[in-house]
Structure formats: C-alpha cells, structure tokens
Subunit: 245 residues, 2 copies
C-alpha cells in the first residue's frame, strides 16, 4: 500500500529503542536478576513473576528504571520467601544504578536521518518514562539540536497524543510518528488519524507486544531500518514540487 | 517595599506544599523509617544519614518518592551492617506505596485563589519531581481546569525557568511565580528578573533551605497565606483601569 506523506509538518520520534538502545539493558538486568535468584526458582519462573510484578506496580510506579528496581526488590523478597540476603538486595540496587549510568548508544542511521529530515520537517521527541532519566539520555545523545520540542509523557495512549497535537497546534494528518513499539508509537496514532512508521527493534518488552488482529487493517508502514525512512519522506518533497509546478 | 505587578500576564504555581500537602508525608515516612531502624542507630543519626544518602543519589534518582524509597532501602542495608530483615525491607517498600497512594489534601484558600486569579491571568503549574506522581496528584486535586498549562520539570533552576518562559513566549517581567521554596520557587525567578511571591509551608526539606545571605537584597514578597495574594494582585487590575481611563 502506498501511503501519502505530503501533508506531514511535524515528525515525532520515539526515543528508547528507536534513537538509542534501551530494551537490551532491561533484558540484561532481568538475566542478572534471574541469576541472583537462581537458588530459589528457575530462570523462567523468575522472569514470568518479575513481569507480573512490574505490570501490577505499573499504575503506581509508571515506566522507567526506578520502578523496575523497586519491583525487583519486592520480587526478591517474595520469591525467596523472605530469605533473600542483604548482599543480594544491594546487588539489585546496583543493577539499577548501572542502568541509570549507561552511556547512550545510538542506533544505526540515527544522525543521518535526523540531519536529512530536519531540513524539511519540524522534528520532536515523544518519549515516555522517567523525566530525569530521559532528559539525561537526550543530553548524552548529542541529538538535542535536531529537535524543536521534547515531550516526555507518563504514558503513550491516544489521549496523550491528542493533547500533544493540540499543544503543537497541528492536525493529526500533519503528524507522523516514528517508533519501535506498535502499542505505544503506532496504533494510538493510526487510531487518531495521524500517520506512523514502525521501525522494529530486535527486542520488545512483553508489555508492548500486540496481537496480529490489533494491527489488522491498520494503515501504517513498517521499515527494517531507520534509514529506509529517508526516501519515503523525500518523496513528499518531490510530490510537493510537482504540485507547485 | 511595594512591588509592582502591573506587567504580570502568567502566574506559575508550585504544587507540592503550595497547592497541597507534601513534605509532611516525607517527614512522616522518615519517622517511620527511623522507628524501623531503631535497633541499629539513634533517630537523629538515621535522619542525618538518610538525608546524606538522598543528596548523594539525587543526581541519579532525581526528586520524588521512588528515589526516596530506593535511598531508604540502601540506607537500611548500610545502617544495619547488612543485617536488616526481609520484613523490614518489605515495610520500607510499603511506606513508598502508601505515599504514592495518599489522597491530595489541598491547602487553605487554594480554590478561592485560583478561581479569583484565573479571571485576570493565565495560570500554570510549575512543579518538579516524578512525572506520573505529579500528574496523578493534579488529577486527584480537581484543580486541572484552572490551569492553561502544566509544566513538570526535572529541576527548578534558572535555566529550567528561562526555557519555560521561552516556551510560553513571555518576558521574565510578565511572569510571577508563587511557591513555598525559596531555593526552587523564588530565588531562581528573582535572578532571571521575573517576579516571585513566597508562601512558606510549615515544613521545609533541608535540601530546599537557603541561608539568609542568599535572600539578602533580593526583591520578592513573602505572605503568610495564599489568600493574601488576592488583594496584592487585584491592585494590578485597578492600576490597569486607571491607565486605560
């Protein structure tokens, strides 16, 4: 299906796993956590229980590393039946601090894509999670100058995006979102009649996964790599030039 | 000293301990924490060490309840020399969850002040801390309709405020900030030549305290109660009317 991007004025980029590596660090942390809890349960069970605990705590803690660490501590108390050592609790806190201190590792093509698209579009970042942590990553990324606006949301549902477009004073049809999560970056946009391009990352948090029938008949494009977006959107320019002739 | 508020267009309200009770809950949590750690140290020492730990972790965790809880867990491991019980760790996590679940308790006069001032000024909330927690409190407060804009900052320093005024497209002289913290709500504003009114709360976190010589020769007003702001600012209206005659 050919999608027409001629009306697009503003492009929103998701940050975690779209501009830079993130989910990989959570996967690594989960593996470390499973090792620490290995005396009490199988890795598989630990993984499942931690996920359940994160989802249970999500309404209270929200997204981000601090809530994840608090859930790990709580899970360690439970899975060990109250027998977890102080040393292990200390190691869980360290996992969290290491995650917060991680350098920002840009994904392939990010700078080229931002440099190219910033010539024709207003670019913004639309990310969710912990305010300080996301600001710090943006700062470390060296990408701040490409963006007109940074929006850090507590969640990425349709209402959050509608509010954002209102604030940006643009119509849904003038907004294109680019991100790795079907649930957070693509479907809510398609549902409010904005555009979206899906750039999958090799790892997706279970909470962000959607079933096939949720994506059926939804109009969005999937590309294998951020760089594939450039020709899609430069077509916009060509179309506009033809129209203006 | 008479301060002239005739140019003010936008009024920013701090939230915690200006619109609603907050610090009191932290004080209560610290008391509970000191009780839990009583087998290991004096209440005074526990208090001092917890404060040090919070400040040490502030650059990494930022403001808010989740970072506070992580600091309490870390402190419990340290103060007990690795002998803290799993039950106590569990209770520390519960302190945090209780704090996040607290109802919002509006301070005296808040609704009257917002109702009155919203007729003549654009009101915004300028708060720092955890994004989800602050959004939740605003939602629970029932005050959202009074505000044109909600700004949740990771910190409240001069640069954060300058960026905000830029974003609001107003001059510093057109902005008045109202809040309980000299360090976060008053001095940075005075330093960038905006206006500020200090409404002290009965409890101030040690980190927010400033020395007398920091406030010397600074031009801001202190009132004993939010309601005292109304007559100060209705003078603005009268002045404007005289000018227009």
């Amino acid at each position: 299906m050919e999608i027409d991007y001629t009306n697009i004025k503003v492009i929103g980029f998701d940050a975690d796993d779209t501009l830079w590596v993130n989910e990989t660090y959570f996967r690594d942390a989960e593996l470390e956590f499973a090792k620490l809890l290995a005396p009490y349960e199988t890795a598989n069970k630990i993984d499942q229980e931690l996920f359940k605990k994160e989802i249970e705590n999500l309404p209270l803690y929200g997204y981000g590393i601090k809530g994840f660490v608090l859930s790990m501590v709580e899970m360690a108390l439970e899975l060990s039946n109250g027998n977890i050592s102080n040393a292990t609790i200390g190691k869980i806190l360290e996992i969290g601090k290491d995650m917060l201190n991680k350098p920002v590792e840009l994904l392939e093509g990010v700078e080229e894509v931002l440099l190219t698209l910033s010539k024709d579009f207003r670019l913004i970042v639309v990310t969710k999670g912990d305010l300080l942590d996301q600001e710090r990553k943006l700062e470390k990324s060296g990408l701040l100058d490409y963006f007109h606006h940074i929006e850090i949301l507590s969640d990425k549902q349709e209402a959050n995006y509608s509010k954002l477009l209102n604030h940006l004073d643009i119509k849904p049809s003038e907004f294109l979102m680019i991100g790795n999560s079907l649930k957070s970056d693509i479907l809510p946009l398609v549902n409010i009649k904005a555009q979206a391009i899906h750039v999958p990352f090799h790892t997706t948090w279970m909470h962000e996964q959607v079933s096939d029938n949720e994506t059926q008949d939804k109009s969005y494009k999937t590309v294998g790599n951020l760089l594939e977006i450039i020709p899609l959107l430069s077509r916009k320019k060509r179309n506009a030039m033809v129209k203006n002739d």
